[in-house]
Symmetry: C2
Subunit: 333 residues, 2 copies
């Protein structure tokens, strides 16, 4: 990899992406007080406060089992507001469309985006389109900004995390990444796996009354292993994952075949929550009562004796999950 040029690894959610964001974006934008750790940030307006987030989407193929780039853009953006404890209300939409794209396909995608927005109760307030010359795009890229309001209750944030806190996940991990890979047929594999892409607002709102709720995040690029690394970098604690992380059989098979680790694969409709030990069981019950949280389970805890991400294996062993470096799966979201 040339050091002075952008590589695919700068987009995978791991170390190179973090360094690029720290060294190029955050450093230049120091006057903006940009918080590169937060999913959504508060902005002061007219004496009140709103929450804002933004996200780009380059998934390939544009349509995949369980969603498409349009519904994914809505879910990815509103989920960033949801895990920050906000209710999404408005979206803006930018479409970068490559010359030659079928208008019927674009129409299906915008229709799907509109339906996802309507189902989630958000309005698409403003939009812009740009057309890219043939060969200067990948069919369609979307960028969406979400605006919402903070919900009453706790204000989940990484700096609330304490030693001994429990880590929950709302469902199986790696479904989205694997479903998109299979749809791409790069690997000659097929399957009936469906992406988990969807809104997580019900899941996040169900925990807002738990004063022991510390932090929530939707594990997208880089998966739950990357969230764990963000936690240890921000808090100085360690993360110990237990052998309970739910992985669908088909996801595990694909991972075994290709040498991937499902803990680094993207979800697009799951929540990882960190919560005080005495409220973990009750929070799990709340999640399991919601359709999107039926498979919710405790998957680990925060520890103070080691500043690493450890995975306990089913055979009683353990191994480190390192920060993601190479091996990017480009255009997964």
């Amino acid at each position: 990899m040339e050091d002075d040029r952008i590589s695919l690894a700068h987009g995978n959610g791991g170390r190179f992406m973090r360094e690029l964001i720290e060294e190029v974006f955050a450093r230049n934008l120091v006057d903006s007080d940009l918080d590169i750790q937060a999913d959504a940030v508060p902005i002061a307006l007219n004496g009140g406060e709103a929450m804002i987030t933004t996200d780009g989407f380059i998934v390939q193929p544009l349509e995949f089992p369980g969603g498409d780039i349009g519904s994914l853009a809505v879910h990815g953006t509103i989920n960033d507001l949801a895990v920050a404890g906000a209710r999404p209300l408005y979206l803006t939409l930018n479409a970068f469309i490559e010359e030659g794209l079928e208008i019927a396909l674009l129409d299906r995608i915008v229709g799907s985006l509109a339906k996802a927005a309507k189902d989630a109760g958000v309005k698409v307030s403003a939009g812009d389109t740009k057309v890219l010359r043939r060969g200067e795009g990948g069919g369609l890229y979307l960028a969406t900004t979400g605006v919402g309001v903070r919900l009453a209750g706790v204000r989940p944030a990484m700096n609330r995390i304490r030693d001994g806190d429990i880590i929950l996940i709302s469902g199986t991990v790696g479904d989205h990444g694997t479903a998109v890979m299979l749809a791409r047929q790069d690997f000659g594999l097929r399957g009936d796996l469906v992406s988990d892409a969807g809104p997580v607002t019900e899941l996040t709102e169900s925990l807002m009354d738990f004063d022991g709720l510390r932090f929530m995040r939707d594990p997208t690029r880089g998966g739950i292993a990357t969230i764990a690394h963000e936690i240890i970098r921000a808090t100085g604690f360690g993360v110990r994952f237990e052998a309970t992380i739910p992985v669908k059989e088909q996801v595990q098979s694909v991972c075994d075949m290709l040498g991937y680790d499902p803990y680094y694969l993207a979800c697009e409709g799951r929540v990882l929550a960190v919560i005080a030990p005495e409220q973990a069981d009750e929070a799990l019950e709340a999640w399991r009562a919601i359709p999107g949280g039926r498979d919710a389970v405790r998957i680990g805890r925060i520890v103070s004796n080691m500043n690493r991400v450890i995975l306990e294996t089913t055979l009683g062993g353990e191994r480190f999950l390192e920060e993601l470096e190479d091996d990017p799966l480009p255009r997964i979201c």
Copy 2:
């Protein structure tokens, strides 16, 4: 042109782009009450109101005389808020970066964006980066969403326009489009022309106390001719441009050579305003007292006897300016 696929003309600001936005975006997003005529729209938040807009940027080359894609993204976005009578406060930033882009170039562009934001008093609150595979991008695309608050005073909007109103422009037209074309060297031409790209907030705020102010817009893709067509479609009136539209000699020369019409070329730091006749002179004086408005001039009027865009020529003749169809200048903004 194939009817069922996206063409470059779908991005040029003219008829095909309008039809694409009406038929694919607005039709699908009907539940969002999307106002495709407005530069920025109000959103209700916490009992108050904010203004929001969004814009994508694909200009090529990434750096050009007078700016770069970073500063252009800031100016283009805050200007859409400004002409809607709002003060810009926050931006979100999406960067789509092509594999292989020099990190030093990216760093210059983000630095330029940060400076433009700081100079304009706006904070970059949230951001996201995606990396595009080599050959699936054009170096760098940006998408920015701007949030601001409405200024006290009039609420400029197209439906305020009346028969006999006067049209003003804050400076010469077509500088940005021509400067970018020259920088691209597609045509073997060179020149020392500089883009007009810059903030228009001083210009727009200086007119907010004029109760006769009807409407403002920054003429970007499609130029002032396209704004005129938007006015006649929205109001049913006609637009009569006088032979006073200021065009720099070098812009006119390039246009003559290439067969372009400067009235369709993009500006990125000008304001076209429509104002009641009795306040037009005073508004012009207000603009001329501002550095960005020194060359401000009256360029036409709203008429009711004809639903067309007419240009009076210096020789006393007149011709129609039709809605832009083909002849796109791709990647001009």
